[in-house]
Symmetry: C2
Subunit: 329 residues, 2 copies
């Protein structure tokens, strides 16, 4: 008598619902109260086949990317993951094998990040697989790191390396690109891996709350996202292009084709953290990042003004981009 939908939920998703407030996914809704003195941070991001991932990507990686793009936002806001809800639109081509891999990938990340499933909705669709995740985090009351706090004189800092995922996506679309950039298999796979599986910088959340004046995650390209942060903060910025941290693979590609700097600085899917830090806070922030084993790099300075941030090359000239960031529309 149990419906197919109920069976699917019980088999594939109930094991992820480890929080008592999820009621084992046996009710219409879940119950959640933030820890005393804390408030919740709410975020939603969706991904869909043919746009954010390739239909033949491994289902476990699709699931993990769907969750991680949300966790990346929580990290940038200084929040600790609390849990998530999921809506999953499935075309008829999806079988139990795909769902098994999808839910196993989701479960692995949910467990590793302490972010259990609180509920969801599974629907049939005439379109591609579409995954919407609603992530909840918690921060001490009033402590969420906003985009709006950057002040002139603050240093502009990014985690990890920039541009890898955009180059990885280019390789996925144009398989000859890796060869033309003189990348060996290891460097090529590094870029593709960075596209497939973001690394949310949750280990930096507390340091951001303590030391950052503003932060956001870099999901739509560094140049465009910095422009958004500066816009909300009412400031501008000056970035040294040569200071932007690049992986060995991105450096090699850039050496082969200098025009790739635009892909690197404006392409999406980095899922690194962009933040601003007062100069006197920077040493302590660096120490906390090092303790968390997360690379952070000072790439420039916040300046007064309403101009768009400038990306200045070694010769002192500002780069001009044909477009600043990824946008769906």
């Amino acid at each position: 008598m149990t419906s197919g939908e109920d069976k699917l939920i019980a088999r594939f998703f109930k094991p992820l619902a480890t929080h008592p407030g999820a009621l084992g996914l046996s009710d219409d809704a879940a119950i959640l109260e933030p820890p005393a003195g804390h408030e919740l941070v709410l975020k939603t991001d969706a991904i869909t086949g043919g746009v954010h991932f390739f239909p033949d990507d491994a289902p476990d990686l699709i699931a993990r990317k769907a969750l991680r793009v949300n966790l990346s936002d929580l990290a940038a806001k200084g929040a600790k993951p609390v849990g998530f809800l999921l809506t999953l639109a499935l075309p008829s081509s999806i079988d139990e094998q795909w769902l098994g891999k999808f839910s196993a990938g989701l479960q692995a990340d949910a467990q590793a990040q302490g972010c259990p499933l609180f509920g969801g909705d599974t629907i049939a669709t005439l379109g591609p697989v579409t995954i919407s995740i609603f992530a909840l985090g918690s921060v001490p009351r009033g402590a969420m790191v906003k985009r709006s706090g950057a002040k002139p004189g603050d240093r502009v800092v990014v985690t990890g390396t920039i541009g890898d995922a955009a180059l990885g996506l280019t390789i996925r679309k144009e398989p000859g690109a890796a060869q033309s950039w003189k990348l060996d298999a290891r460097l090529r796979d590094h870029l593709i891996g960075r596209y497939l599986l973001p690394q949310p910088r949750l280990g930096l959340a507390e340091a951001l709350r303590t030391h950052a004046s503003a932060a956001m995650d870099v999901s739509d390209g560094l140049a465009g996202d910095l422009t958004k942060l500066c816009g909300v903060s009412g400031v501008s910025a000056e970035i040294g292009v040569g200071s932007v941290p690049l992986s060995a693979a991105a450096q090699r590609a850039l050496a082969s084709d200098a025009r790739l700097i635009e892909t690197i600085l404006t392409g999406g899917d980095d899922y690194e953290i962009l933040c601003t830090v007062r100069p006197d806070e920077l040493p302590a922030f660096r120490a906390r990042a090092a303790a968390a084993d997360i690379a952070v790099t000072d790439i420039g300075v916040v300046v007064a003004g309403k101009d768009e941030p400038r990306f200045v090359d070694a010769g002192g000239a500002a780069l001009v981009f044909s477009r600043k960031s990824f946008s769906h529309f």
Copy 2:
């Protein structure tokens, strides 16, 4: 420099983000703390074109249905709406006129129900319009009405009328159905309207918290949903088919074709509330419902046992359904 996505959000969705914790949709995430002594109720439901609505349905009604199916769950749980997040997957065929109507419909309901927008994600899709809503409500700590509290002897109660939306959907699919059921235009439009625009019973939330032993909303058909409630509560139920409240339109249709009782009792999209109430609580519950101008009908009794609930006709025979409820899979 603002991206198309940012412009779209500013124009169509920022007016809905009236809660200060939404930060005017200018940040990556929103901030929310439940009222003191309260906990949050979390719910997500998604709808997609060609499955839950027809692509040519009015965009404002699609938006309102997407929100209302979630509000219906909050009502059934005894929760007061706090806010919602939205992910919207849009095919390239969607234009600004469609979006304007969609956001206007959403805004009307968000305002009327006190349920502002806290955030969202708008993505391009190769498939049909897909709308995922994550709704948050609040209840006094420990007061959420679960599915699991029904006890033998409790009365089984439903709000409103049952089966209208399923009959309305049948008419949408088979335009000749209304005529064969001898429905005039007014009765036909009543059924179609019930399919297009659910009425979440939020006015009953407090009465449910006070008087109901268990509750859920009827979204996948009364028979199947009652089976779920009984299953989680570890009980069975006996329902008088003749007691199930039907609209004038449904009564007329049923008089024309007695087989429609299965569509009425097992079809989806009612978005009424199914609850169980101790007999001694029933008068007070009825009075509260009357004060809220929400019809409630006693349709049967919870009984001990693990059998599936029985729907008994006037002759004392139990109906046998070919399927108990709507399921996507």
